[in-house]
């Protein structure tokens, strides 16, 4: 009797046209409140001359902020640096993560310990990482220059050298993020059918061929998703860069978010800062759209593609 009642309720729920809305409702409400409304406010600010000291006052500026930004060499340089930083981060973290995951997927003594240690950089707080890295790159007392000895850069400068500052920041970023990609790819590797691997070995396929034909098709979607996540996270990364260089020297590590912060909180130009934020958002949306278009095409083309 009870069982038939339960079944009836379940049927009623599953059959209800409101079910999808009820399920998506809380998440949609959350996004609307904490993402949608601030985004609208940012859009509104981006077309205004608003000062940090008088955030409530609104003076309509039209597209002036955007026009000024795209005529400002500092902003254009920050766009280039952001693109370089993001591309390097994605290539570094996904490449290194893939290599580490393939290594960790093999059987060797002490593998559980190695897998546990791998996650340590990802678990470390970014602020602590930035502070420690700054000391490691210190010109006078840093361990990196001590280790490099005569091969250290002139005056031991890393974070103050226009040619090395971004390299140093990228090294720290990739070191901190690659464990995450490694762990996710390692999880995906567990889905690679063992019988297919064995069949490939019996057929005489080499290491590269086995990876390309057996492993890659299984993990490709995961790697693609990781690349997307790394892209968006890299566009947004602030604390590490700000703490290590504040965008210097001479703007060589001045990414979009650093530029946004400087305009908003150092120069008090909230309107322009919001405009930088909108450009960053457009950049992220563009990358996301490209990802979905490519994914869809690959899915339509089938597994052989």
């Amino acid at each position: 009797m009870n069982r038939s009642n339960d079944a009836g309720v379940a049927r009623a729920i599953h059959g209800s046209p409101w079910l999808p809305y009820a399920l998506i409702g809380p998440a949609a409400l959350y996004l609307l409140l904490f993402q949608g409304l601030p985004l609208l406010q940012e859009l509104r600010l981006s077309v205004s001359h608003t000062s940090l000291l008088d955030a409530a006052a609104f003076r309509f500026a039209g597209a002036a902020n955007f026009t000024e930004l795209f005529n400002d060499p500092t902003f254009l340089s920050s766009l280039r640096i952001t693109a370089l930083y993001v591309a390097s981060c994605v290539a570094g973290t996904v490449g290194l993560g893939l290599g580490a995951a393939l290594l960790m997927n093999r059987s060797f003594p002490g593998r559980p310990i190695a897998r546990s240690l791998l996650i340590v950089p990802w678990a470390a707080p970014p602020v602590a990482v930035a502070m420690i890295a700054t000391w490691m790159f210190n010109a006078q007392y840093g361990v990196i220059n001590r280790a490099l000895g005569p091969f250290a850069p002139p005056y031991g400068q890393w974070l103050d050298s226009p040619s090395l500052a971004l390299v140093a920041i990228l090294a720290v970023t990739i070191w901190q993020l690659f464990p995450f990609t490694a762990v996710v790819i390692l999880a995906a590797l567990q889905s690679v059918p063992q019988d297919l691997r064995e069949a490939a070995v019996i057929d005489g396929a080499g290491l590269w061929m086995r990876f390309r034909v057996v492993v890659w098709p299984v993990i490709a979607a995961t790697v693609g998703l990781l690349a997307l996540l790394m892209t968006i996270w890299s566009i947004r990364r602030f604390e590490l860069i700000w703490l290590m260089t504040q965008g210097g020297p001479v703007g060589t590590t001045n990414t979009l978010v650093i530029d946004l912060y400087r305009r908003g909180f150092v120069l008090h130009e909230l309107g322009k800062a919001a405009a930088v934020g909108i450009v960053g958002l457009a950049f992220s949306l563009g990358v996301t759209m490209i990802y979905f278009i490519v994914t869809e095409r690959l899915a339509k083309a089938g597994p052989s593609a």
Binding site: S51, L52, L53, D54, A55, A56, N138, A139, Q140, Y155, G156, Q157, W158, L159, D160, P162, M244, T245, Q246, G247, G248, P249, V250, G251, R262, F265, V266, L267, H268
Partner: protein, 405 residues
């Protein structure tokens, strides 16, 4: 059975008693205000400034002041964000340029009534905007040459001597000189750069017209670059690091402000410290100032003004100057014999009070952050050899002229 009328009367009496008690409590409760200063969080001076606040609280029955500690690095941003949203502490110890920015946005109250009848040191005039006093100094630090007398035997009196001594002192991990030279320390680099410019008789502007590429300004910046190029500074070291190096005997000289000897002694009480006039062609030098101002958003401006007036009294001013070391306060407080015996170098910092200049371009004070950013960026380009110094300053001049007024 209880009579309804008796019950009603009893209830009314109870309510009246409660209301009365609330009124008495409201009358008796002192007004609470807050004061924010990065100094409050400093290990050496913070507890002493907190003790002053306690002294005020003990002396008052109508007002209570509570400290708000915000680190120096994020102080201006934190205050402006709160003030822009209609809040913030009642009293704020701002850097000078922030006072101008806050006044331009109508975020500060006039202190004219609070300072009436009080003699202020001339340095406070830089906090008077369009005839209105918007701030009073908490800490005025003049700059001078701080050197290690155990290393430097002949005190340099010219730039050539400074350079020669700095070169002689640079060896085996020791450096002859130190200053800020990175974007990460933009404000500090601006101070250090400005000292050279002022010392060479230049300035960043005159009566609101930028003079960034003027001859005297260029000469000062060129001297700064000469020291950088000579390899006599610990490149990449921030102020906290090179001051620690100074306290460990690894830096011979630096031009720094009157509060720094106290910091050095705090790091190492045995740090040998000598102070002389900066060896530049003129006696002109910079002056850094933290100034107290009253937030226009304050809900208790009367309490804030009462605190300001009390703070400018002889007792608190003498106490504060006593723990500031080589700095001075808002009002003239004579140095005591004990003070001068313990720190004879104080006299040197005091001796430049009449020629010390604030780190703000005259007539363009509100735009200090923008001008600072442009100048520092261009000078860094020149330091890195990416552009010739004169061309860098020409570019900075052009960009500053293009700033919206």
């Amino acid at each position: 059975m209880i009579n309804r009328r008796v019950l009603g009367l009893g209830g009314s009496a109870f309510v009246a008693t409660l209301q009365g008690a609330r009124q008495v409590r409201a009358q008796a409760a002192p007004k609470t205000i807050t004061i924010a200063a990065s100094m409050l969080g400093e290990p050496l001076r913070g507890p002493k400034l907190n003790a002053i606040l306690e002294e005020f609280n003990a002396s008052q029955k109508d007002f209570v002041v509570k400290p708000v500690t915000v680190p120096f690095s994020s102080f201006g941003t934190a205050m402006f964000t709160q003030m822009g949203a209609g809040g913030g502490p009642d009293i704020i110890a701002f850097d000078q340029p922030n006072i101008y920015a806050a006044v331009a946005a109508n975020r500060l109250l006039s202190l004219d009534e609070a300072v009436k009848g009080i003699t202020l040191l001339p340095g406070n005039n830089s906090l008077k905007i369009k005839g209105v006093q918007y701030g009073v100094a908490l800490d005025i630090g003049n700059y001078a040459l701080i050197y290690n007398p155990e290393l430097v035997k002949k005190i340099p009196t010219t730039f050539a001597e400074l350079m020669a001594e700095a070169k002689a002192q640079t060896a085996n991990g020791n450096f002859g000189y130190a200053f800020r030279h990175t974007r990460a320390e933009e404000a500090g680099m601006w101070y250090d750069l400005s000292n050279f410019v002022y010392g060479y008789g230049g300035n960043w502007s005159k009566d609101g017209t930028p003079t960034i590429n003027a001859d005297a300004t260029l000469a000062g910046v060129r001297a700064y670059k000469e020291i950088y190029d000579a390899g006599v500074i610990p490149r990449g070291a921030d102020a906290a690091t090179y001051r620690r190096m100074f306290a460990s005997g690894k830096i011979a000289m630096m031009v720094d402000n009157g509060g720094v000897p106290t910091v050095l002694k705090g790091t190492n009480p045995n740090t040998p410290i000598g102070v002389a006039l900066a060896p530049f062609p003129t006696k002109n030098i910079g002056q850094v100032m933290a100034a107290l101002a009253v937030n226009a958003n304050s809900k208790a401006p009367d309490a804030a003004m009462a605190f300001m007036r009390w703070f400018l009294g002889k007792g608190p001013q003498t106490t504060v100057q006593g723990f500031l070391g080589g700095s001075t306060v808002a009002t003239p407080v004579p140095r005591t014999k004990e003070e001068l015996d313990a720190s004879p170098y104080i006299k040197v910092f005091d001796s430049v009070s009449d020629v010390a200049l604030p780190f703000m371009p005259p007539g363009l004070e509100v735009q200090t952050p923008q001008i600072r950013g442009i100048v520092v960026e261009q000078v860094l380009l020149a330091l890195q050899g990416q552009v010739e110094l004169k061309a860098a300053l020409d570019e900075a001049q052009k960009r500053v002229l293009a700033l919206p007024r």
